[in-house]
């Protein structure tokens, strides 16, 4: 039998492909991104990077209405953006199977919060499936399409970071053919949600939920593993794997369907074990449901409600609660080590702009000098450029959710702050939802300065295409939406396009934009070097001319280092040379130069 070593994300993609999915739409977001990337490598399936998650769900829903199987993928915060589209699909139901993947991020590895997507399943009264390893990611993705069609409902597939980004073995099964002959059937009573029709649908949804919980009673996705009966554990997703490791002999009810719950199955299980215990990451979602059924369970009174679980977390909590005794103590990590936060890459087109902002805003200070009071208010957004919040740049003052920066700035301006606020947003985020905020700012005459950092890609998640890059999910170039045209079309009069590696021009453009009385948009353009991979000769530093003042360190470029003896050096393996030259422009002593070209 074929055995593949796949990540949970790759397994979801393969499971969907083998279920015969015809179209998939996504907006990249860690930990979900690789699902779409894996699908894009499978021929005959249409895949797209949509401009945001709501759009992705709408595209997939439309396809489902024509009878083919469709999928939309995102991360948990993406489901907030898509909430309206999700609820609409939950209401109309489907024709072809419709699966919505929302990957949660317990422990906030790469997100702005750690919300629990299962709450949306309850809100939309749709089933929620939770795989615990790659084999289940594959199997559950397949099952989700079938459940979707059988019960006329979208299905929420909820993996978590640790499932998405773990590799384990998958044995694939027989393939279904990819859906053909899409055809739309007119059915306004189902698809046109005017109040009259919507009222009828809603009654059907309540009945659907009842049917689904009956299905959950006997579905193979929920499993009982019989062991010792003094401890009975109800667990879902990755928590099941951790719990299995900590309590190898216990009895388990493993819930593959965590909503709606199979009441009879849980009641029977709880009745057979001494102490039913629910182990689930994030919210006490299952626990609350069970308590509402009058089943006495424990769980969150000793297991954490926040953060990622691990065998260690469960073992420590259980020891504290007296469920296990005699656990040996675990070594604690060494303390006081220098932290290593992520940084902008060497040659990053955002670095020069941030440095300029930092120097104008009093954020950057030479090593050993005391910090001055910051000036300028900078509203940030979600992407690589959020890293501008870390020292030595330290120039981001707000960061909430995709597209919020421009509206934050507008709000501050409308509230009447004395200084003109700045909003910094990347090109992909601008396409995602920044454009909405800009339109609002134009309409309401917000006196702000919007800086679009255009590196031509969605860099943070691994360089996906977007409407402004014109690069498709398969890497082919298609139509490109030109940002400056869009901005002008939205009614912005003052738009300047500036080279990201030209510090002087950036400074003067910023000065000018800050002092004007109107809405200004600066587009700072420069290619992301990790994408371009252009060869370039590294810059040279003259040890004679350099007095180790450290001014070049303020760019925050990891190719510039201070060695043990206080000497500044440039790592030739990392420097982007003439493609960047930011440090060269900064060095007052002219110690940094391009290498002589030897002929």
């Amino acid at each position: 039998m074929e055995r593949l070593l796949l990540s949970g994300n790759e397994a979801i993609a393969l499971g969907a492909a083998h279920a015969g999915v015809k179209i998939a739409a996504a907006y990249p977001g860690t930990p979900s991104t690789e699902i779409m990337e894996a699908i894009s490598r499978i021929p005959d399936i249409y895949g797209e990077w949509s401009s945001n998650e709501a759009v992705a769900v709408e595209v997939a829903t439309g396809a489902s209405y024509t009878g083919v199987r469709a999928m939309a993928c995102m991360k948990h915060v993406g489901l907030n953006v898509a909430a309206d589209a999700f609820m609409a699909a939950a209401t109309t139901g489907v024709r072809g199977g419709l699966v919505i993947v929302s990957a949660d991020d317990p422990g906030i590895h790469s997100s702005q919060n750690e919300q629990d997507s299962r709450n949306y399943a309850r809100l939309g009264k749709v089933p929620c499936l939770e795989p615990s390893d790659s084999q289940e990611a594959y199997d559950f993705a397949r099952a989700a399409f079938q459940i979707s069609e059988e019960f006329d409902t979208p299905v929420l597939l909820r993996p978590t970071t640790r499932v998405c980004h773990s590799k384990s073995i998958v044995a694939p099964r027989e393939k279904n053919p990819i859906g053909q002959n899409p055809e739309f059937r007119h059915d306004p009573g189902k698809l046109v949600m005017l109040p009259g029709a919507a009222r009828m649908r809603w009654a059907k949804i309540i009945e659907r939920l009842r049917q689904l919980s009956l299905y959950a009673e006997t579905s193979g996705l929920n499993k009982i593993i019989v062991g010792k009966t003094d401890l009975g554990i109800v667990a879902n997703g990755i928590s099941y794997q951790y719990a299995r490791e900590v309590f190898p002999g216990a009895s388990f009810l493993k819930l593959g369907i965590s909503y709606p719950l199979p009441e009879k199955l849980v009641r029977d299980f709880a009745g057979q074990v001494g102490r039913p215990l629910v182990i689930e990451e994030l919210d006490g979602f299952i626990e609350t449901e069970l308590r509402a059924m009058g089943i006495a369970v424990t769980g969150k009174e000793f297991l954490p409600r926040t953060g990622e679980f691990s065998p260690d977390v469960i073992r420590d909590s259980a020891a504290r609660a007296g469920i296990i005794t005699g656990a040996k103590s675990k070594p604690a990590p060494a303390s006081g080590l220098a932290k290593r936060p992520p940084l902008l890459c060497p040659g990053c087109p955002h670095a020069g702009f941030f440095f300029t902002l930092s120097s104008m805003g009093h954020r950057s200070t030479l090593p050993g000098k005391t910090q001055r009071t910051p000036k300028l208010t900078v509203c940030g957004d979600i992407g690589c450029y959020t890293l501008g919040a870390y020292p030595p740049l330290g120039v981001i003052d707000t960061c909430g959710c995709m597209g919020a920066g421009i509206s934050h700035a507008a709000g501050m301006a409308q509230a009447g702050i004395s200084e003109k606020p700045l909003a910094v947003i990347g090109d992909s985020t601008f396409m995602h939802s920044g454009i909405n905020s800009l339109i609002n700012a134009v309409y309401n005459q917000a006196k702000i300065c919007v800086i679009i950092l255009d590196n031509g890609t969605t860099a943070m998640t691994g360089h996906q295409g977007h409407p402004g890059s014109g690069v498709s999910v398969k890497g082919q170039s298609g139509n490109r939406v030109v940002i400056e045209d869009l901005v002008r079309g939205a009614g912005v009069k003052n738009v300047a396009i500036i080279d990201a590696f030209d510090l002087k021009t950036i400074r003067s453009a910023l000065r000018q934009a800050m002092s004007s009385e109107s809405l200004e948009v600066l587009i700072i353009r420069g290619e992301c070097p990790t994408l371009a991979r252009k060869k370039a000769k590294p810059l040279e530093l003259s040890a004679q001319k350099c007095d180790d003042c450290g001014a070049c360190l303020l760019i925050g470029c990891s190719a510039i280092m201070k060695t043990g003896n206080g000497k500044i050096t440039i790592d030739p393996g990392a420097c982007l040379g003439e493609n960047c030259t930011l440090c060269l422009q900064l060095c007052a002593r002219g110690a940094i130069s391009a290498k002589e070209v030897s002929s």
Binding site: L5, Y242, D312, P331, P333, L343, L553
Partner: protein, 200 residues
């Protein structure tokens, strides 16, 4: 089937994830159940990276509990200290002799521990510590980026996987033009370990 719990750590961009993929693929080919997981955070941009790899007859959690790793393979010294508490008391730490000071150190707000401090910290967790000049060895072979195959070669002495299976997994995972030099790097790593290896 015995199996191993291995933690591979380093700095974003050093090839930690690729190395753990090679090992995982080899363990699969050797017939084990395998689980591996990478915690990257936003570390694609030069942050701390850690990869957990477990192979055995049966594996539940992809995460290794603290104090239970058989092997710690560190691509950088400070990262070795950061993750050393995952080692078993008799687990082996294979540490690349390379210091990459974080920017906070360069800017003078934090300090990088001295070699002696690092050794002291590491020996609090295990008595089996090996400092390997892997970056230098890889540079000698013409490409400092091959530090990951040098370290894999070194570590191969501790694995219950045939070296032939390891090299075929490495070959399968690399483009044609990189294969020969990387196999040489793997052998270099094995040779570096040959003198010091003792089966615990």
């Amino acid at each position: 089937m015995s199996g191993k719990d291995i933690l591979i750590v380093g700095v974003g961009g050093q090839g930690v994830v690729l190395a753990s993929n090679f090992l995982a693929e080899a363990a699969l080919r050797a017939g084990y159940e395998v689980k591996k997981t990478d915690t990257l955070g936003m570390a694609q941009r030069g942050g701390s990276v850690v990869s957990h790899l477990r192979y055995a007859g049966s594996v539940a959690s992809p995460l290794i509990p603290a104090g239970e790793a058989d092997l710690l393979i560190a691509f950088e010294k400070l990262e070795a200290a950061r993750w050393a508490h995952f080692l078993k008391p008799d687990g082996a730490a294979i540490v690349n002799d390379l210091a990459m000071p974080p920017l906070s150190v360069t800017l003078g707000t934090e300090t990088y521990p001295s070699d002696q401090d690092l050794l002291d910290m590491l020996s609090a967790f295990s008595t089996n510590i090996r400092l390997v000049p892997a970056t230098a060895a890889a540079a000698n072979l013409g490409n400092p980026k091959m530090v990951n195959t040098v370290l894999l070669g070194y570590a191969s002495r501790w694995l219950d996987i045939e070296p032939g299976i390891l090299t075929s997994a490495i070959e399968a995972g690399l483009p044609e033009k990189l294969r020969k030099t990387n196999l040489a790097a793997f052998e270099t790593g094995r040779d570096l370990a040959a003198g010091q290896f003792r089966q615990e």
